[in-house]
Amino acid sequence: MTTATETAEGAVDSVGQPLLSVEDLRVSFHTDDGIVHAVDGISYALQAGKTLGIVGESGSGKTVSSLTTLGLTRSKRSRISGRIMFQGEDIVAMDDSHLRRVRGNDVSMIFQDPLSALHPFYKVGVQLVEAMQVHRSISKSAARRRSAELLELVGIPDPKRRVDQYPHEFSGGMRQRAMIAMALANEPKLLIADEPTTALDVTVQAQILALLQDLQQRLGTAIIIITHDLGVVAEIADDICVMYAGRIVERGSTEDIFNAPQHPYTWGLLSSIPRLDSPRDEELVPISGRPPSLINRPSGCHFHPRCPYVRDAHRRVDPKLTPVDGSSEHAVACSLESSVRARIWDGIRTGRDAESLVRIAAASPEPEVPAAALEAPESEGTDIEPSEEGVVESERHGEQHLFTQPVDEVDHRLERNEHTGEVITGPEDT
């Protein structure tokens, strides 16, 4: 699974090693309801100074995979395997004290909600000073001066006064800027931004993204940006990984993903981005259904219960991430033939009606089902939704879903859909 990126053109820096290379990473959590397979064998590589977007819904494993890059998912209940090679060292195998020296120093992270991510009882400057003093011997006064400089760097006006204020005295956008300043305090080589704009106003979102881009150009930091919104990464990512049910289902350069997306899930994500340049009466098409249980995952292709183009064999054959024709870095995990995928995407782009597109898929040849797979039972997964933290909330049939995250993209889509008056029915319900 790693070959596509590792042999990619330009994917090698002067030393020949990527800054970060994740190889067959698996993270699972033991819960009372069973084992949650949050990340299920993902591989990607990131060059120094480049930006990678990881895109997917809640529960796709995107946050868990990035927390694991900082060793933050280590616990008695978690199992982590695979390798995360950072500057020639494996983060998965590192001992705790070694890992602490990497955290906040070489790799730092910013989070979705900057209000809850900053300690409410400490002044912003104190929290910045603390971040510096963990990793370098710097006097308090020097660290304070540098805190003000950092706040200035991230565009906070009147930084000398602001260092002595508490997070609750900052606006939402300012708090995220302060988080970014804290993350950059030790000039990390890699910055992981987990939904950095989700909790912010739309105008502030754009400012934060512009700031990240600007800082990357000035400081040469590599960035992994995690989001549910392809629109966020369109501008700033060099490469994009689309994750679904703990796996990468499509991977490619940003141009590949936007111009020639291959996976039906990626199509769904693209169709649900509001675009200013499209006609106002054009409907946003949500992805029907909801993310699958990561405890009892659907058989075959994990996306099959929600895929409009599903064939019988897809319920049994688990597609592997394979290079797309004519490209060394673009890869997809889909059982549909590439010519069929190309026709369907053309149809979606030109606005053909959904039913005729489904007919294209229905007329296509099915993949061969291996004898072993015929024995295995077919399953659409159970009705349990694990959250990104690996917490599982059981639900009875027909009950309202409980989400552990206040901001949930699936909910937004459902809401938006209610406005357009469209009835939501997944293929599994019809």
Binding site: L72, G104, N105, S108, A117, H119, P120, F121
Partner: protein
């Protein structure tokens, strides 16, 4: 902030007057012995009783009596005289206060020293054998009434009636200035008995609030910064989790300073609680009134101190 404190103090004074009035009404409305008759002793003639009643001011109307009482407190800081012994209430209270102070402060030190570390350990190792054991023991201590625990401890460890002669038993209290060593040893059992419930409550409160704090996003941020786990727990976790403990501590200590009636009675410690109880038994209204006002005063002050401490602990309170 300053105006806020002044406002709180004024409200506190109003509350004190209100509590005095309620105590006054209770004492006069509910049946109790005639103070004048008690003071006069047996076989006193009606003339003498009438004379005493006049001397104590009990022949005036109730509102006038209350007015005189309040006037004496505010103008002369005079809380009246015991109906029974004629001693000044203020001097009785100041005589008794050191014992109550010794008992309350010593117990507070013990319950904090026990409750806080146990709470932190239990939270950090939540679900472990250690946590379950500690919380099980805490539950036992919470469930034991003080009068029962006090008697059990006396029957086990008192050097007079105890199964094992370890500590001085009931009625052995001496002042700190008289003999520091005897003061200390005589208070060991009362301290632990009084501290047991609170230590258990505090460990459970801190455990719950620390577990909650350790799940917050800012703890993840602290770890992502590369801080040592010890620093993450104390500087970031406990710092937030301690606020509810500070609140209950202030209120508990304030309430105890007004007299730990049960513990003082079980161990026969001459504190405010005993003074109050004896006064109630003797229908000695001025002492009851004085001790009630003192207890109210401590609680009002504790509330104000907690509010100020809260603003100091949580910067978000200061500005809202």
């Amino acid at each position: 902030m300053a105006t806020y404190i002044v406002r709180r103090i004024l409200w506190g004074i109003a509350l004190l007057i209100l509590v005095s009035a309620i105590t006054f009404v209770f004492f006069n409305v509910f049946p109790s012995a005639d103070p004048a008759q008690l003071r006069a002793g047996r076989n006193a003639s009606p003339q003498i009783i009438a004379y005493i009643r006049h001397e104590l001011g009990l022949d005036k109307s109730l509102p006038v009596q209350f007015w005189v009482y309040m006037k004496n407190i505010f103008l002369h800081f005079n809380f009246g005289y015991s109906f029974y012994t004629g001693a000044s209430v203020l001097s009785l209270i100041t005589n008794r206060l050191p014992a109550t102070l010794s008992l309350a402060v010593g117990a507070a030190v013990i319950w904090l020293a026990m409750g806080i570390p146990v709470g932190i350990l239990s939270a950090v190792r939540s679900g472990s054998f250690l946590d379950r054991t500690a919380m099980g023991i805490a539950l036992v201590f919470v469930s034991m009434p003080v009068f029962w625990l006090g008697l059990v401890v006396l029957f086990l460890f008192a050097d007079d009636i105890g199964r094992f002669h370890v500590f001085p038993g009931a009625n052995t209290y001496v002042g700190l200035t008289v003999s520091p060593w005897h003061w200390f040893t005589s208070l060991i059992m009362p301290w632990f008995v009084l501290a047991a419930t609170s230590a258990a409550v505090y460990s459970r409160v801190l455990r719950g609030s620390l577990i909650e704090a350790m799940g917050e996003d800012y703890i993840r941020t602290a770890r992502a910064k590369g801080l040592r786990e010890r620093r993450v727990i104390f500087r970031h976790g406990v710092r937030s989790a301690i606020t509810p403990v500070v609140t209950i501590f202030g209120l508990d200590l304030g309430a105890l300073l007004g007299g730990a009636v049960i513990t003082e009675t079980v161990f026969n410690i001459p504190g405010i609680g005993r003074l109050n109880l004896d006064a109630i038994n003797h229908s000695d209204f001025p002492i009851v009134q004085g001790t009630v006002i003192l207890a109210t005063l401590f609680i009002v002050v504790a509330n104000i101190v907690v509010d100020i401490a809260y603003a100091y602990l949580d910067p978000r309170v200061r500005y809202s």
